[in-house]
Amino acid sequence: MRKPYKIAVLDYKMSNMFSIRNALEGLGFEVEITSDYQKIISCDGAILPGVGAFPEAMKNIKELGLDSIIKDFILTGKPFVGICLGFQLLFDRSDEIEDTLGLGIIPGEVLDFSKLGENIRVPHVGWNHIEKRSIISKLKDINYQDIINDKESFYFVHSNFVKPFNDNHIFTETKYAGIKFCSSIIKENIFACQFHPEKSGQKGIKVLSKIFNK
């Protein structure tokens, strides 16, 4: 099987992509930070990163034409990863700041923690652990079941959380302030997570390594 070696990190002018690049380069991958169609499509894998606000992110993505590029890339079947805001953007809509439409690739919505209760401190920031659901997807020879172990801890920092409409997409869940929310999804060749694997120490790096490797 062909081993992915060049990964596109999608640049929509909003996020600190240097941690991702450092992590990927540290693993021996070649990294292209870009919003150019040709460059992205020709890569072996792609990551949609993100820190910041949903509405502004979607605005930039649309302006750069990244919405169709993302959809095209996903159609190629090559591994696609969404991280944190990049995870949230894949869904139908978000109520962060103002009601905004997302990429609509994964059915579901993004909700605000603080709207759920009086005493919920946001952002949810720090190390929290995940609970795995059973496997949904297999892509060629990549067994997604193996990329994360049950009860592992990862670094989270977010004020909104996703609510997938399709239960089958939920890969891991995490508890915060009495709420169980979806911390990662798998849909066909898409793996997306609320936490930051590039900021979760060696275990996080391993997750990236397993997704883009055999």
Partner: protein
């Protein structure tokens, strides 16, 4: 709560050196920051905090190189503070590899910076730092320039304002306790925790692992930033004496002493101690 408490080593940096003061005074050199950072990462630190302690004093920023080097090898969140004065400064520090920025002096001089920065970079990227010094009437005032100039702002009110402006977290430095090894100012910490609804990190005073446990027992604090307790443990076995020709007074390092008020401990040992006392903290297997 399944969210673990964050144990955050704090590195005060001046130029190329890691320094450690008492009550935010003094430039005693303990070594090179990279060496400490690497060690702390291996030991299971949850985040790292770099503070350029003379940036505001000298009107400069100079941590970019060390940030870049750190970000290449250390894959936990890095917060950087010291002399961050503008949106451009923030952008450059993030580009260098930091994940969050900590702002104090500039926010006091221009609170609107917090608002703009939160909007542009996201609240969770913006940590508001408060240096609190107790006044003779018992109140606490917020200081700038590494605990030097009084802002006349009362700490609790200022914290509330910072939350309104959009800061994602508050980092509270108890200047009177900092470097002393006498424990944290729990009263102030509790008061501040109850006054805001964003995460709070406390810094200043840990001299013993018990002090750290005491904080967790008093309030569900989000994170604890620790300097002396870890640094003096590191140099017990890792004393570097060369590379200080350009600047850095290493008289203390050469003396091979350890301050008596600090019962130093490693991150690993501290976390095991906390876990043994039922504190939810991440133990890196």
């Amino acid at each position: 709560m399944s969210l673990a408490i964050r144990i955050i080593p704090r590195l005060d940096i001046k130029g190329p050196n890691l320094v450690k003061g008492i009550n935010l005074e003094g430039l005693r050199v303990l070594g090179k920051p990279e060496a400490f950072a690497k060690f702390y990462y291996k030991q299971g630190a949850d985040e790292l905090f770099y503070q350029d302690i003379v940036a505001s004093l000298f009107g400069r920023n100079s941590l970019h190189d060390i940030i870049s080097r750190t970000a290449k090898e250390i894959f936990i969140p890095l917060t950087v503070g010291g002399g961050i004065r503008s949106i451009d400064d923030i952008s450059n520090i993030l580009k260098a590899g930091a994940d969050k920025v900590s702002i104090n002096t500039a926010a006091i001089e221009n609170p609107d910076l917090i608002r703009s920065a939160a909007r542009i970079f996201g609240s969770s990227t913006i940590v508001a730092s408060i240096e609190a010094i107790k006044q003779s009437d018992g109140s606490y005032k917020a200081f700038t320039d590494n605990g030097r100039n009084s802002s006349n702002k009362e700490v609790i009110d200022w914290a509330k304002e910072l939350e309104q402006l959009g800061a994602g977290e508050i980092s509270l430095t108890c200047v009177d306790h900092e470097g002393s090894g006498n424990g944290f100012d729990l009263k102030l910490a509790k008061e501040l925790y109850n006054a805001v609804s964003i995460p709070l990190v406390i810094h200043g005073g840990a001299g013993d692992k018990q002090h750290v446990l005491d904080v967790t027992r008093e309030l569900p604090i989000s994170g604890i930033a620790i300097a002396s307790l870890f640094h003096y443990d590191f140099i017990l076995n890792n004393r570097q004496l060369d590379g200080f020709e350009d600047e850095g007074n290493i008289e203390f390092l050469k003396s091979n002493k350890v301050p008596s008020s600090i019962k130093s401990v490693s991150i690993k040992k501290l976390k095991l101690f906390l876990a043994g006392n039922n504190v939810n903290c991440r133990i890196d297997a």
